[in-house]
């Protein structure tokens, strides 16, 4: 995948296809994630899912457009590659269809971060992955990301060999 990357030295911004990206480490991401999911009177996992899904739903169509792609297989593959380039992990989206389906991650930033920082978890943690899967599905099938729910059924941070995400429409 060839992306237009540029560093605007006056603004101090790293841009990919005109979108401003910032680097954060697993300490930051896991601490923020854990803080949000444990916030009282807030469904933190849903909040993170929606925030990430809506953000990727803005950026993924621009990436797809920049690559001049069409067809759901090519689009899903490009979304997956972009996700990996950003460091979020490896996500196989190829089994998704317009009616839902399943995505599988063989590595995950949040899962690796949780394992490195706090060890094995009791519950799935990859809400960044959930949000991304929803946005990729919406991008590939031309749908509104808001109609898509994603449930994580397996998680590397729990000790599972892969992460699994079920898309419910």
């Amino acid at each position: 995948m060839k992306l237009t990357k540029r560093f605007d030295s006056n603004e101090g911004k790293h841009l990919i296809e005109g979108i401003h990206f910032v680097l954060h480490c697993h300490h930051y991401n896991t601490l923020i994630h854990r803080a949000i999911v444990s916030t009282p009177f807030l469904d933190g996992k849903e909040f993170i899912f929606q925030t990430v899904a809506q953000d990727f739903a803005q950026s993924l169509p621009r990436i797809v457009q920049s690559q001049k792609l069409s067809g759901k297989d090519a689009i899903l593959s490009a979304c997956s590659e972009f996700y990996s380039l950003l460091g979020f992990g490896k996500m196989d989206l190829s089994a998704l269809s317009a009616t839902g389906g399943r995505a599988v991650s063989t590595s995950s930033h949040l899962a690796s971060g949780y394992l490195a920082k706090w060890g094995k978890q009791d519950q799935p943690v990859d809400d960044f992955g959930r949000g991304f899967v929803a946005a990729a599905w919406a991008t590939a099938f031309g749908k509104d990301v808001k109609v898509c729910k994603v449930v994580q059924t397996r998680c590397i941070a729990k000790g599972d060999s892969t992460g699994e995400f079920t898309v419910e429409v």
């Binding site: 401003h20 910032v22 680097l23 954060h24 480490c25 990727f56 460091g87 979020f88």
Partner: protein
């Protein structure tokens, strides 16, 4: 030897941080992600806006602490990397040089456009940011704020002082505290961060 900020800025800003075969950016002893600034801002600011006002100060502390822990660990890795050894270490004579060089790395990483305007080594440092994604996007989305909003930069300012003057890693963390005394989100011309040693 003085710190050549331009060499650091140009050298570090050209580094490519992309996922490996596992889709992970495994560098400097941490895993990095490159996320959109809007995503990170929405995670912070929308969280704050959903909270009961009585919980806001605590949430701000949590967000700032996440950035401090991130900055402390990531910059420890950076300061012990081969890249630092090759590019920056020959310019560093003392702890303050290390702080100045680290600020320039922050600029090259795209977190802000920072300058260190005053340093009393080991006691106090004053940073100014003329750019920075937090204040900028806050104003764009919500308009002026009554509170300072640069939680990330506040935490990183503490972390860099912790690393330079706080003592051995990892026990040197929390040696300094930072207050964002001015913020562009409040209408100030720049964001200013005053970092002092915890008594």
């Amino acid at each position: 030897m003085a710190i050549d900020k331009k060499v650091i800025f140009n050298g570090v800003s050209q580094m490519q941080f992309v996922g490996n075969q596992k889709g992970l950016i495994d560098v400097f002893g941490v895993y990095l992600t490159s996320g959109s600034s809007t995503m990170y801002n929405n995670l912070s600011f929308e969280l704050i806006r959903k909270l009961d006002p009585a919980l806001i100060a605590e949430a701000e502390t949590i967000l700032t602490n996440a950035a401090r822990v991130c900055g402390y660990n990531t910059f420890y890795g950076i300061q012990n990397s081969v890249e630092w050894e090759g590019l920056i270490a020959p310019m560093v004579d003392n702890d303050t040089d290390r702080l100045i060089a680290s600020v320039e790395i922050c600029n090259a990483l795209g977190w802000a456009r920072w300058e260190l305007v005053d340093v009393v080594p080991g006691k106090k440092a004053v940073f100014r940011a003329h750019k920075g994604y937090e204040a900028e996007l806050y104003v764009k989305k919500y308009g002026p704020s009554k509170r300072s909003v640069c939680y990330m930069m506040q935490g990183v300012a503490s972390a860099l002082n912790d690393l330079s003057y706080g003592g051995e890693y990892p026990s040197g963390i929390y040696a300094f505290e930072t207050v964002e005394t001015m913020c562009r989100a409040k209408g100030d011309p720049y964001c200013e961060f005053v970092t002092t040693r915890v008594e």
